[in-house]
Amino acid sequence: MKAHKYGDNVDTDVIIPARHLSTSDPDELAEHCMEDIDPAFAARVRYGDILVAGRNFGCGSSREHAPIAIKACGISCVIAESFARIFYRNALNIGLPILECPAAAKAISAGDDVSVELAAGEIADLTTGQRFRAEPFPPFMMELIAAGGLSAYLKGKIK
């Protein structure tokens, strides 16, 4: 899957600008994803592609619209050197897989063919042949992601 690469401190205002927050429809949000730093992104991204970024990805606003937009674009995983904490929580809560892996985030170039084995935390750059390892998620988090997010996962578990 193709990698789309960005730098440090990609904030939620550029992931999905507030002028589009008068909707929470995933497909509508996807059309505007990343448009303020990469206007061609929404047209270029293909289902299953990987988003790669530097430090503090998703900083700023708590808008869940940000991971929703990224997921609705078809991105299958975000790999970053580090994530801002609210984004980290939000991404998992809506079932968007993310991996913190500084080595991979630094080494992967835009356009590289990348594969991710989420359960094992394995990342492979098939273009360069490099392999990386991120801390894998515990089983409950894999279940939560597979369920599509926190609400589906918790349904029936709340007394």
Partner: protein, 424 residues
């Protein structure tokens, strides 16, 4: 023991993991389930949470007195879609008989100025809000943090949620700030020092004799922007000023937690308040700070004085003191936004709104509006704004080629008069 203030509040609310004699303290990194004293949402985030809410399998919110819904972002409704989002929140609030729903004009205002004003948060509380600036209530000695809409929905359904116990950066404040230096300069200086991810996942624990020199409004401003350093929360010790604020606003009795003398901090930074000068953060990060006296001639097109960061009554008073008897420069639009209906009324009573209007400002109803590029002051390409808001990211207040400079109300007001960035 060895716990920070934040860790103690989490321990006091923990349900899944009670502290016992054999394990009396929470450790950084530990996961805990904890009871929630308040769950907050606004017209951007609550509609998503309301859509998720039924999926948790509960018909009613856990406690209709512990949910606050505040239409403040795109209100008064900026367009049909915004109106639909507010309508969804209003319908939910009515169906669930939510006690703390605030209608536009009926005492409403910007959420993080409003909740303390209404006495809805007290010292020792544990609050989550689907807005990143929920960390504001740390000024009251509460643990409060921003979450997303799904977490808000889970909180409304269950009345508890999980937290990772944060490690801490201690910020020791010394001395007394000079005239025209306020909470905004303190927090911009700190973010400039440690960076926008300098306290990522951590709590920012303020302490030192300098705390006593800061007004409650200054503390709200500082705690508000903890998120801009990546922090989970910012928190102040409870003192006489806190207690009298809580009494005046009819808050519940405080539960005072103090950090243990041997609490462990991952990092300690010290700030001498007396050394600080008016500070401005240049585009496009809050950490890109400069002293105002060093910036040269930066001409501006707009000034915004307001927001959850600096829209309180003392901010209005400072801006009015600078603007009294003077005129906003030709070519500059100055927009003043008292953060709540009560602040608006108080500014009216004190004659501040007249000072603003006579100086050539427009006074807006309470709204987050321009801060996040919603409405009521959007920038065109190449335009520059000095704002008392909290973020200056690319496109934050409008066009991607517009620029936002973050500063205090004193600097914003003086800049409006001068037509370029300057101090009073």
């Amino acid at each position: 023991m060895k716990m920070t203030m934040t860790q103690k509040i989490l321990a006091a609310h923990a349900t899944g993991r009670a502290c016992s004699p054999s394990a009396p303290s929470l450790r950084p990194g530990e996961l805990v389930m904890a009871r929630l004293d308040l769950v907050l949402g606004n017209d951007i985030t609550a509609p998503v949470a309301i859509r998720e809410f039924p999926k948790f399998g509960r018909a009613r919110v856990f406690d209709r007195e512990k949910v606050a819904l505040v239409p403040d972002h795109f209100t008064p409704n900026k367009d049909i879609k915004a109106a639909a989002q507010c309508a969804a929140m209003r319908t939910f609030a009515k169906a669930q008989e939510i006690v703390h729903y605030f209608e536009v004009g009926h005492g409403c205002g910007i959420e993080h100025a409003l909740l303390p004003e209404k006495g809805l948060v007290t010292a020792g509380d544990l609050v989550i809000g689907a807005d990143s600036h929920t960390c504001t209530y740390g000024a009251l000695g509460a643990f409060s943090t921003g979450v997303g809409s799904t977490d808000m929905a889970a909180g409304m359904a269950a009345g508890e949620t999980w937290f990772r116990v944060p490690s801490a950066t201690q910020v020791v404040l010394r001395g007394k700030p000079r005239k025209w230096v306020g909470g905004k300069d303190v927090i911009l200086h700190l973010i400039g020092m440690i960076g926008v991810d300098g306290a990522r996942y951590q709590s920012l624990e303020f302490s030192g004799d300098g705390v006593a020199e800061l007004s409650m409004d200054d503390r709200f401003t500082i705690a508000n922007m903890a998120i801009e350093a990546g922090a989970k929360n910012g928190i102040f010790p409870v003192d006489e000023k806190t207690l009298s604020y809580l009494r005046e606003h009819g808050a519940k009795p405080p539960r005072i937690h103090a950090a243990d003398a041997d609490a462990e901090y991952a990092r300690v930074v010290e700030i001498d308040l007396g050394e600080l000068e008016p500070t401005v953060a240049f585009p496009h990060l809050p950490s890109n700070t400069h002293l105002v006296r060093d910036v040269g001639n930066v001409a501006i097109d707009q000034v915004v004085i307001g927001s959850c960061t600096n829209g309180r009554i003392s901010d209005m008073r400072i801006a009015a003191e600078v603007m009294q008897g003077r005129k906003v420069a030709n070519g500059v639009r100055a927009i003043v936004i008292p953060a709540t209906q009560q602040i608006w009324l108080q500014a009216l009573d004190e004659g501040l709104l007249k000072i603003f209007a006579e100086a050539g400002c427009v006074v807006s109803p309470p709204t987050c509006g321009p801060c996040l590029g919603g409405h009521m002051g959007i920038l065109a390409a190449k335009e520059r704004c000095v704002a008392t808001t909290n973020r200056n990211f690319v496109g934050r207040m409008g066009h991607v080629e517009s620029e936002v400079y973050l500063a205090s109300p004193a600097v914003a007001a003086a800049s409006a008069i001068a037509g370029h960035i300057t101090t009073p």
